[in-house]
């Protein structure tokens, strides 16, 4: 133990990290019946780290290119020692990360944690959610299998519906008029360089804000605690909350391992651009609610093309959602109930449409 202490002291003399971690030692986490929702952000972060690590390992063997991508993933799944595990964990973790990111967003919404002064935390978190969906969209194409190929084709086609900038945007995404090997290489670039860079910067910013502003407390509880300060209960972030978070990470690791071992991620059939799209092709589950909505919009609404209306509608909703904290009344006045109502509706809509999209033929 003395050796460990010596090393720590040696490092501290040079890095002065005691000053650096001092705020962490003082940091507390409010303790109440909804405290467990605080774990979601941490679990999402853990899954992101898993993604980075497994992604780096996959990069050792993955080769981007229409003629090599599928074969290289097949090689990873069959020949590389524990390649199946790494790829399956990467795929499952990606899906779980998107799920926990959505759950985190809704928990923040319901607990009203986005209110002043945490508007920027919300905005950075929302941008991170969009980036995570971008990770999903770009990564889905990389194995270059039939489903991924046609899902990308449909997805980029929808992007092309945006007036004025849609077509150039679609050509930029595809690297040409059609989904080809050029699309694959640029999606690979987005997936392993552009998006991780942006996401890492934003995650640091997001965590910095969380650290600076502390954990939010639901308004009603905040009011109770203000009225009766003796009722306020807290837990030290380190080690008490951090150890609990660590337990959550271990559970997530167990779930990931079980999913990867019992349901290894399917490889599918190599994409063939010259065959017709399989019947009933659908995007990944996290895009399903939007896809199904677009399918249900009539071809013409008044004089506007239905699909364009849908795409513009989702764009506008996304923008308004991003700016949601700015519609909220300032603390400590009475929070606006319509935002909670809207959140309930959004959750029901996203869940309902996703299930409908999954069951629809």
């Amino acid at each position: 133990m003395s050796l460990l202490r010596n090393v720590r002291d040696w490092l501290d003399e040079r890095l002065e990290w005691e000053d650096l971690i001092a705020p962490l030692r003082k940091k507390t986490v409010p303790l109440h019946r909804l405290s467990y929702w605080y774990f979601l952000g941490g679990i999402t972060l853990f899954l992101f780290v898993i993604q980075v690590l497994t992604g780096i390992l996959l990069l050792l063997y993955y080769r981007p290119g229409a003629n090599e991508a599928f074969e290289s993933v097949q090689y990873i799944m069959t020949q590389v020692k524990f390649g199946w595990l790494i790829r399956s964990i990467h795929s499952w973790s990606a899906n779980l990360m998107i799920f926990t990111a959505f759950a985190h967003m809704f928990s923040v919404l319901f607990l009203k944690a986005y209110r002043k002064p945490r508007e920027l935390t919300w905005v950075s978190g929302m941008i991170l959610l969009f980036l995570v969906m971008g990770f999903g969209f770009s990564g889905y194409l990389l194995p270059w299998n039939t489903l991924a190929f046609f899902a990308t084709k449909v997805g980029t086609e929808i992007t092309g519906q945006v007036p004025v900038i849609g077509k150039p945007m679609m050509i930029f995404l595809r690297g040409g008029e059609d989904v080809t090997g050029a699309t694959l290489t640029r999606f690979f670039g987005f997936h392993v360089a552009v998006l991780p860079g942006l996401a890492t910067l934003l995650i640091f910013f997001h965590l910095l804000l969380v650290q600076r502003l502390g954990m939010s407390v639901p308004p009603r509880l905040e009011a109770e605690w203000s009225a009766n300060p003796a009722a306020r209960r807290e837990m030290k972030f380190f080690p008490n909350f951090a150890l609990r978070e660590l337990m959550a990470w271990y559970v997530a690791l167990g779930v990931l391992g079980a999913l990867a071992a019992i349901f290894p991620w399917n490889l599918g059939v190599k994409a063939d651009p010259f065959v017709s799209a399989p019947a009933g092709i659908k995007p990944e589950w996290y895009f399903l609610f939007m896809f199904q909505t677009l399918k249900l919009i009539p071809p013409k609404v008044w004089f506007i093309d239905g699909e364009i209306l849908g795409v513009l509608g989702f764009g506008l909703i996304g923008l308004l959602w991003l700016l949601l904290p700015f519609f909220e009344s300032e603390y400590p006045s009475r929070p606006k109930r319509w935002i909670t109502g809207l959140a309930v509706f959004a959750l029901a809509y996203v869940a309902g449409m996703s299930v409908y999209g999954h069951l629809a033929k």
């Binding site: 097949q74 799944m77 069959t78 199946w84 595990l85 080690p239 008490n240 150890l243 609990r244 660590l246 337990m247 271990y250 559970v251 690791l253 167990g254 391992g257 079980a258 071992a261 019992i262 349901f263 290894p264 399917n266 490889l267």
Partner: protein, 456 residues
Amino acid sequence: MAIWQNRKQIVISRGFIPEKSAFLRSPRTTDSSRLKPVGMTKARSASAARLFSLAALLLLGTLAFAQTKNSCLDCHSALPDPLGVTAEKFSQDIHAQKGLTCVSCHGGDPASDDPDQAMSPKKGWKGKIDRKQIPQLCGSCHSDPAYMRQFNPSLRTDQLSQYHTSVHGQRFAAGDTKVAVCTDCHSVHDIRAPGDPNSTVNPVNVATTCSRCHADASYMSSYKIPTNQFAEYSKSVHHDALAVRGDLSAPTCTTCHGNHGATPPGVDKVQNVCSNCHTFQAQMYEKSTHKKAFDAANLPGCVVCHSNHGIRHPTDAMLSAGPDAVCMRCHTPGDACDRARAGILSDLTQLDEAIKSTDRVLAVAESSGMEVSEARLAQDQARDSLTKARVTIHSFRTDLVDQDIQAGLKVAAKNLQAGKQAMVERNYRRFGLAISLIAIGLVLVGLRLYIKQIES
């Protein structure tokens, strides 16, 4: 639109089509001048051409009314069968679509409302075409390459000469008018191109068309030939392929018998007919001992084992000693051929079973999420070997069949090994998972106890 020089009528058509009723009129001229629109060759300047075009348009506008007048259909659309022909029915006819009218075959003057004028022999009216005249009437156009080229340059023009060589044609020439003539198969007044799914001679409909006579026992009674061909064919593998699977390359009556030159293939020619599609089987049979034996006994090759119209999907049971056995119809139980038959059957069964059991293992591995697509793909090689062995049977040589069987067994064994390895790997993964989950569980318990300790 065009005005044709050698006609009393003005024909206004989409396709610059000459009226043709050669059978009813003077001998045809096929020189190119017939096909040239009046005046166009004389046009010397652009302004003259414009003036002419304007005049022609005015003239044609006036004459269009006269052209659309078709007193034949006016009356016959109101008449009952067999004289009834509606405009709707006739519009389906390929000839009508190409610009031919009633006059083309029947003559007469459709511009006249007076029946006596319209159906006046002086106007070339021939009335109902005598059955004896039908092949010659159709042939007057369809045997003329220069004429037919205008409509379809790739269409054959030897139908009539082929018909003369057919059983139908020969009997017809001998005065038997019960046999099929053109209109019996192609219908009349609503003749469609063979590619039209509703055509009576579309591959899908040919068997039904032939059966209208050949399955009619009373109609065929004077010919003393069987009438069960259609019933047998309807149960055959060829019918399944054509009618059920929609494979238009599958054979129907005309594929083996010919169409216009229809005749039964002779006993010694059956093999040539089948070999058009079943090439490898025919090549092997050609070199086999059976070929010599069948020829010597004047047996009809392929038909001996597979029958003719009612060819069923061949199964390995044909090699058995059971009810579907074909070998034992000729061979004696226990002889060398019987032993060879049993050996081949045993080999085929062995490979078939090996493929099926490998498929089962691979399916379980795949449903467990294991990547066995390569082995799944390689199974096709084993199946190919089995198919090849079944084809090689037509050589009637056990050594050649055995070569294919062994090749297939080798591939199936390799794939089975891949499947078993995948299952071992699956179990290894699950064991590893169990160990990992236990380790994670222990860490969780440890963490919980530690938290309890520091918070107490």
